[in-house]
Amino acid sequence: MLAWTIYISFLGAAALVFLPRENARLIRWVSLVIALAGLLCGVAAICQYQTNGSSGVVEILNIPWIKDLGISFYLAADGISLTLVLLTGIAAVCGVLFSWNIEHRVKEFFAFYFALIGGVYGVFLSFDLFLLFVFYEIAIVPKYFLIAIWGSKRREYGAMKLAIYSFVGSAMVLIGIIAAYIVSGSSSFNLLELASYPFSETFQAWAFPLVFIGFAILAGLWPFHTWAPMGHSAAPTAASMLLAGVVMKLGAYGALRVAMTLFPLGLERWHNEIALLAVIGIVYGATVALIQRDFKFVIGYSSVSHMGFVLLGLMTLTQIGLSGAVLQMFSHGIIAGLLFGVVGRMVYERAHTRDLDELQPMNLSKALPFAAVTFVIASAASMGLPGFSGFVAELQVLIGAWQTFPGLTIIAAAGIVIGAAFMLRALIKAFFAENEPGKTQPAGGLHFEAISIPERVGAVVLLTTTVAIGLWPKLLLDLINPALNSPLMQPLWKGAAL
């Protein structure tokens, strides 16, 4: 069932190519169906997983691929992958809804879009490292084109920056994976087998940071984060939603799944340093966001700050911290998707500017009340207010962090306050500022095209998700927590005990 999420996306991408170019309406509806089908597969698989009472890694498919090197097409899932598959499904559907108005090369757009989605599903479900890497690369390439063709201001620079960072990161990952493969003398790239091999401490001491940072570049680890705000703001709305919502999670997921499970001793050796970088990222991202003029840069930097919580949670080496980190991946995916949806689609495509100083005299709360209300709720969620998923996730991360690094926790908590400050600043400037007497707007206020139904549906889906998880986090924690207790994760807790 789960494997179909990957097939549907790739087959969908291929099928879109054969649709008539002129019929944009058909292409959109087909895309929506593809995204929904992927989401439904994911949801059905989760229900099945829950009803079967499974807890650890469940194999989906294992077909030998390149026998000589021990590479196989090995798909499996545990609660962590399932959580992220669910996130990908929701983000994919909402991304299509928020791209409903795309007219330029709509066929190619959605083809690339689903190639990216397929790659993402693939990464979350691969338990063969080589396969995982292949999917990881597949996800990076369409992203480049999505930005470079359909992007906005400085799109080529943004796309180039993103590509350089991603590729440097992947090169580091690849070196690490191959080194592990060779050193272990194993005849397989199977994650479960490699994880059981006791790598020497000296090997782990350099392999871990190599692979971890390689992945974490994509998760916005400070100081390798500058691709994120740039790339997010250059990308078209759906791509920034996927970039912040899902692609950044690829990095965090890879860091957890590959670097941390393979090299628990290296993790033990380096976790203090990386936690420090994570906390710097939290505060740094928030402070830079405080003075940005470009609305999308504000959200882009807020992603750096929020992903800092994910990385901090991973470094706590406590179950509660890790569980918080995974929940934060989900939560940030939803909330960032929503914020980019409002800023990129609802505001930018109507007002044709993202400059907060230019938005200020437009008094958008009058012109676009739906966007304003959505953004108010989304910023409350982004600030980590209770009732939204971000609160539960950050609470868990910080409870875990308090046990491991009390000093850093204090700084991270301060980052939350700055987080509130920059969201409120952007909120007031963009939506609720008063006209200055000199700069009156045209009589009767500005008239924008009304917020369309697909936009409303997308916003409501994302809002409902974050509130549902915020009020009843058990929904996801019942998936995540058993996964943390599975045999695959045991070395992590052993490493922490040393």
Partner: protein
């Protein structure tokens, strides 16, 4: 996983499991009014008022249940706990509690809330966002009532943040005014700074005790086993862990209850509509900080050694309260905005509550909290009535003589003012007297007592100044628009509150201290003799003298000034322009913060932004540039070494590939080259490593 545990006998009439109905009712009202159309004003108001009335009735039932003490010396307490979610081996649990502390707050908040809701229906009648206003008010009520019934620091914190959100929305309700939007932001962020402390205290408490439930059949974090454990550990500087955690939690209270140095948001919060100021920024939310400290009081007082001396936590609370009480009262003397004076007065009175908490315990502080809630709500609603009657004028220098135009407002306002000043037989007299009494007997230090006396004197002085300017003397406002009395929906709540501002005090006189007896679980008997016994009488006389002295001095200074047709200079300004300038400038605390904290943050932001643009960005440019150079070099080699015809064929292919080729600016090949080079290095490394 649902567990219920009752402390007392099974014949109780109120099951704490149903406490959640109290916040749920306003929450439903908020939800429904969020969804209905903006023109259904009547429905929104009816929903809000109706849900609040129902919540009030349930609260009364809960209150009645809490009256039967289980046994002599024991406090009535019922809890209901449940799992929120499981975390590895541990779990995060939430719960509801019913004890006298919760019960009295529930009744107060629902009752004052109900009156203010009714008043708002009149006050906001002409506002275009009427429906939204009641939606936000109901949201606030739900969060506030949830805070009161929490038996878990986590649930309390959740509601604590939500009342902050509601407060933000309501302060910024007239967001068209830039000052309102700025005030809302300031309130939210300033209180959140305090919340960092509360949050960290919560993390620490959870880390050490593994639970955030207050009471849990012996396993709660406020019960003896957890307290013993916390007292036994030293955090730093010789302070017990319990003290440090209590102080961290106190940071949250400092933010929410506007104590120095985080008091700056509360006066600005007066930008909100007046009913909001009355409900949130006078009677209920700002008092939540005092309530929080009363809730975690066992943590504040827990200590191992010498029990006769107060703990460090109690001392800090007392001194912060005492400094706030005087500081805010001083600033209030120099203000000219009707609501701002009341706001500083609230800050000052909250300081009194903190003193009461530190020196006298929960009962003393809570008694002042309850009486203050009534008379301060009364004063704010009275101020709203004045502002309404004077056509949105807030400057007291432009009022005057209003007692003739607005007799009901004047009479009720005067009662509130006398109660606040602590004139004998008004509610504020009894509750303030208890604080002074406890402060006098405090073994820690005598300084808070003296500060409290100065604060009480200043309170009487600035309130007299205000009343003189507003109600006495000549009318100095617009001659063509005579002030008018407010409609019934506004004066009836005023009258009801005025009655309570008098009679509530009789629940806690020295002769019959029923209130403190009930809160601490000691039944009391009426004993008139205690009223005259030793220290009690002396303190009452002193307290009465201070109040009358302040009023007398105020009258002497301001009665004449108010009689003039216009006020150019305040009489005190003539006396000393410099000192008065400082008071009017609010001792320039806001400017101090702007010059330090805010400037520092901005500097940090600009630096980080520069780093991102120049340093990290520059590095990428450099890498990109180098790769480009490298690929050009390769291209040259290719051109010279590789067969030209093949090259041309490739060129043709590239041209025909259309738009794709334009985008493929060499990155992908370079990437493969990088990987190739990396593999080569790795191979070398491995070979070299094996040898």
């Amino acid at each position: 996983m649902w567990t219920s545990w009752t402390h007392s006998k099974a014949d109780m009439s109120f099951n704490p499991q149903y406490l959640f109905l109290i916040p749920l009712l306003p929450l439903v009202a908020a939800g429904v009014s969020a969804l209905i159309g903006r023109h259904q004003r009547k429905l929104a108001a009816t929903l809000a008022i109706g849900s609040m009335a129902l919540a009030f009735l349930i609260s009364c039932a809960a209150f009645a249940a809490s009256l039967n003490a289980p046994a002599q010396g024991e406090v009535f307490r019922q809890v209901f706990n449940f799992n929120w979610f499981q975390l590895g081996e541990g779990s995060l649990r939430l719960g509801f509690i019913l004890d006298p502390l919760t019960a009295v707050m529930l009744v107060m908040v629902t009752f004052v809330g109900l009156l203010i809701f009714i008043y708002s229906a009149g006050y906001m009648a002409h506002d275009e966002n009427f429906k939204q206003f009641f939606c936000f008010l109901s949201l606030f009520a739900a969060a506030m009532l949830g805070l009161l019934i929490s038996n878990s620091l986590l649930l309390l914190f959740i509601c604590w943040e939500l009342v902050g959100l509601a407060s933000y929305l309501l302060i910024g309700f007239w967001f068209q005014k830039p000052s309102a939007a700025a005030a809302a932001k300031k309130a939210f962020i300033t209180t959140r700074i305090g919340d960092i402390g509360l949050f960290l205290g919560m993390l620490w408490l959870y880390g050490k005790t593994g639970t955030l439930l207050f009471y849990d059949g012996g396993n709660g974090c406020l019960e003896s086993s957890a307290l013993t454990q916390l007292v036994a550990q030293t955090a730093f500087a010789g302070m017990a862990l319990s003290t440090v955690i209590a102080l961290l939690i106190f940071c949250g209270a400092v933010g929410k209850s506007g104590q120095v140095p985080l008091h700056v948001w509360l006066p600005d919060a007066m930008e909100g509509p007046t009913p909001v100021s009355a409900l949130i920024h006078a009677a209920t939310m700002v008092a939540a900080g005092v309530f929080l400290m009363a809730r975690v009081y066992p943590l504040v007082t827990a200590q191992a050694g010498d029990l006769s001396l107060p703990t460090t936590a109690a001392q800090v609370i007392t001194f912060v309260g005492a400094i706030t009480a005087v500081f805010a009262a001083l600033i209030a003397v120099g203000q000219n905005d009707l609501k701002r004076i009341l706001a500083y007065s609230t800050v000052s009175q909250l300081g009194f509550m903190m003193i009461g908490l530190g020196v006298g315990g929960v009962a003393v502080a809570m008694f002042h909290l309850i009486t203050h809630a009534f008379f301060k709500a009364l004063l704010f609603l009275g101020a709203g009535s004045v502002i309404h009657g004077c056509h949105e004028e807030q400057d007291i220098r432009k009022m005057g003589g209003l007692r003739k135009f607005m007799p009901v407002t004047f009479a009720t306002y005067a009662i509130g003012m006398l109660a606040l000043c602590g004139v004998p037989f008004f509610a504020g007299f009894w509750s303030k007297d208890e604080i002074l009494h406890a402060a006098h007997a405090w073994p820690g230090s005598h300084i808070p007592f003296y500060l409290a006396i100065i604060g009480a004197f200043l309170t009487a002085f600035y309130m007299t100044r205000q009343v003189c300017y507003v109600f006495f003397g000549m009318h100095r406002g617009d001659k063509h628009h005579a002030p008018h009395e407010s409609p019934r929906t506004m004066t009836v709540p005023l009258t009801i509150l005025a009655v309570f501002a008098v009679i509530l005090g009789f629940l806690g006189t020295p002769a019959w201290p029923w209130f403190s007896g009930w809160l601490t679980g000691h039944p009391v008997e009426f004993n008139f003799g205690k009223l005259l016994a030793g220290g009690a009488l002396g303190m009452m006389v002193l307290s009465a003298l201070i109040a009358c002295g302040g009023i007398g001095l105020g009258w002497w200074v301001y009665a004449k000034a108010a009689a003039k047709p216009s006020i150019e200079l305040d009489p005190l300004e003539k006396l000393s322009p410099v000192v008065f300038g400082w008071l009017r400038g609010r001792l320039f605390i806001d400017e101090l913060y702007a010059a330090t904290v805010i400037r520092l943050t901005t500097l940090l932001a600009v630096t980080s932004d520069w780093l991102d643009r120049v340093l990290w960005g520059g590095m990428v440019q450099l890498v990109g540039g180098c790769t480009n150079l490298f690929s050009r070099l390769n291209l040259t080699i290719d051109n010279t070494v590789v067969n030209g015809g093949f090259d041309q064929g490739c060129e043709g292919l590239r041209e025909s590939a259309g738009w794709l080729s334009r985008l493929r600016n060499g990155q992908l090949q370079n990437y493969l080259r990088t990987i190739g080079a990396a593999l080569f290095v790795l191979l070398l490394f491995l070979i070299w490593g094996r040898q």
